[in-house]
């Protein structure tokens, strides 16, 4: 067991992937000597060289576009986008090229590209550094979209994403980067990449979340249990494909579901989860599915971001609403 935070866990996962497969490359802005602005790639250039850990020119479309070419040539690029808001200059390449190559080539061409994006708010940043654009990727067929919430998942999920022959958009909860946990770095992952996980078993209501909001929901569950209410918290982990088996199973027992994410509400992941749960568990539901999300406004200035973001109280408030029916 090794105590790792999420940045160190991803670093260790990248390192293992690079050791076991010489085709794995890391590329992005400032990923070399600096080790990335969050130090996720710290030391990799020193150990694997400038050919495999590439400080790219400042151009996101270029990062993704050249990763396509490298992948066509047999490499497995792991692209770092410095902050969530800066993926958009590369969005055209991701949506029009990366997502569609396998389909349009009749399955002949594979693009095993991982696009790592630190996302989400609560870090007191200026504009474009706190976005949660996951739904705009999960909406695109051909992309897999996953997100980790803790060091153990971070360590295994990055390796699993790199091994996958499909392109993966890998969202990292930047506000949780420095949360530590014990990780068995020599073991085996206990879950496939595209699966949800019960983060906390419970009996009275189900709370589904992912990435940075998992901890918020676990905190809410701890507070609820002080009031004698048992919440089951599910970490969705994979947003595309969306694995809702654990959610269905849970909702059939609890009859109540709250979905939580930082991203805007309208047409977000919560809307999709609510629709599917309504389709699958209609007769088990005791209350409409509740969503706790960021509001439908641009991400606000830092001094009001905590009011914008879901927190423990808003989660509990939504749980209360499900009991009010």
């Amino acid at each position: 067991m090794t105590a790792l935070n999420i940045t160190k866990a991803i670093n260790a996962g990248l390192r293992r992937s690079m050791e076991s497969d010489a085709k794995v490359l890391v590329m992005g802005e400032d990923v070399g000597k600096l080790g990335g602005v969050f130090r996720v790639t710290d030391g990799l250039q020193k150990d694997f060289g400038e050919d495999r850990v590439i400080d790219t020119p400042l151009a996101e479309s270029g990062i993704i576009g050249t990763a396509v070419g490298l992948a066509l040539r047999g490499y497995r690029p792991v692209c770092e986008i410095q902050f969530d808001g800066f993926v958009f200059p590369g969005y055209d390449q991701i949506v029009n090229q990366v997502a569609k190559m396998h389909f349009r080539s009749g399955g002949r061409l594979r693009l095993p590209i991982v696009i790592r994006i630190p996302y989400g708010g609560s870090i007191g940043a200026v504009e474009h550094h706190s976005e949660s654009p996951e739904a705009t990727f999960a909406h695109i067929p051909g992309l897999k979209v996953v997100t980790c919430s803790n060091p153990l998942d971070a360590y295994w999920m990055i390796q699993q994403a790199i091994q996958l022959d499909d392109p993966v958009v890998f969202f990292e909860p930047k506000r949780r980067y420095y949360e530590k946990a014990e990780v068995d770095v020599d073991g085996e992952p206990d879950l496939p990449l595209e699966s949800a996980r019960v983060a906390l078993p419970g009996t009275d209501a189900t709370v589904a979340a992912y990435g940075p909001m998992v901890k918020t929901c676990l905190d809410a569950a701890a507070a609820a249990s002080d009031d004698g209410r048992s919440l089951e918290v599910i970490d969705l982990r994979s947003l595309s494909p969306l694995d809702l088996r654990a959610v269905y199973d849970s909702v059939r027992r609890t009859g109540r579901l709250v979905v939580v994410h930082e991203a805007h509400r309208t047409l977000g992941v919560g809307a999709e989860v609510a629709a599917r749960v309504t389709e699958e568990c209609f007769y088990s539901l005791e209350a409409p599915v509740q969503r706790v999300t960021g509001y439908d406004t641009p991400y606000p200035p830092a001094r009001v971001e905590e009011e914008y973001l879901p927190d423990l109280d808003r989660v509990l408030d939504a749980v209360d609403r499900t009991f009010a029916y």
């Binding site: 000597k33 800066f86 007191g124 200035p301 830092a302």
Partner: protein, 379 residues
Amino acid sequence: MTVETAAEATPPEPELVQLLTPEGERVPHEHYDSLIADVTGDDIRAMYRDLVLGRRVDGEAVALQRQGELGLWASLLGQEAAQVGSARALRAQDHVFPTYREHAVALCRGVDPVKLLALFRGVDQGSWDPDETRFHLYTIVIGAQTLHATGYAMGVQRDGAIGTGDPDRDTAVIAYFGDGATSQGDVNEAFIWASVVNAPVVFFCQNNQWAISEPLERQTRVPLYRRAAGFGFPGVRVDGNDVLACLAVSREALQRARDGEGPTLVEAFTYRMGAHTTTDDPTRYRLNAELEHWKLKDPIERVKAHMVRSDLADQAFFDSVEQDAEELAVNLRAACRALPDPAPTSIFDHVYVEPTPDLVAQREAMTTYLDSFAEEVAR
């Protein structure tokens, strides 16, 4: 995988327009002298004041960030001359499209520096009025503003506000950006558009040698100003730490734009003396010796040396500027600390021109929710 460059392909060191040596000696220039022939001692003293105030605002902001009053700050340290020289070449009607580092340009345009701090404190995302100051909002997404400047210039062109010969009407637009930004597609597209439509825009690149941790070599193999030739307009490299040279070169480029002669790329060769931002640690990627080398070329010291040499100012003048800077700093600190946090419901205010029913409902829900805490406290 080393890429060999043929020795003969290596161009000679490019010429750098310089009018003041680092020691403050005024060196004559065949072409650019005429562009600053009208510059008086008063003008130089005024620019010196701009430089000092710019540096002071910046230093104060760094300190306020350290004290937790700002979330972040992007320091302009070392780039004062590039900013003041170019800004003082502007006419009132000209328009500026900045990045996030153009604090001295903002000061020259009359933007209240508290508003710059407000953005980095996180109380708003730009509260100055670009129509009033002709200084547009800061742009954080690298390179985007170069296209905005080009489009704005196309509007100026369509309004017939170039080439009339009326000095109060003919209008230029200037876009600021960094060396790293030159790699972005947007910037290259801006060059193409400006060239094709002959837009009255000046592309003012502050080449401060670094894009966070990446040195210039990660962005280019040719001197940046030479890129302009490939796009079909002139490019010039100026000593970015020489305020007089920056003034002269910018005046020429802006006048070309106002006269309807199209775009110019100015590469102001300078150095980012501080960290990229207050969260950056440059000791991880660059040598202190480099910084020491550039300190000898300090943009403020050389003007001061020049003024002393040429009897343009006495100690009383320098003291008075120091005092102005101190006063500005004191006021700025107090004003920054007094900035109120925005009301939570203010986030709904300007998403659209008219609020949508959805947003009205979300705003009401937030109000009810927040009020429920107030009631709890009251109880």
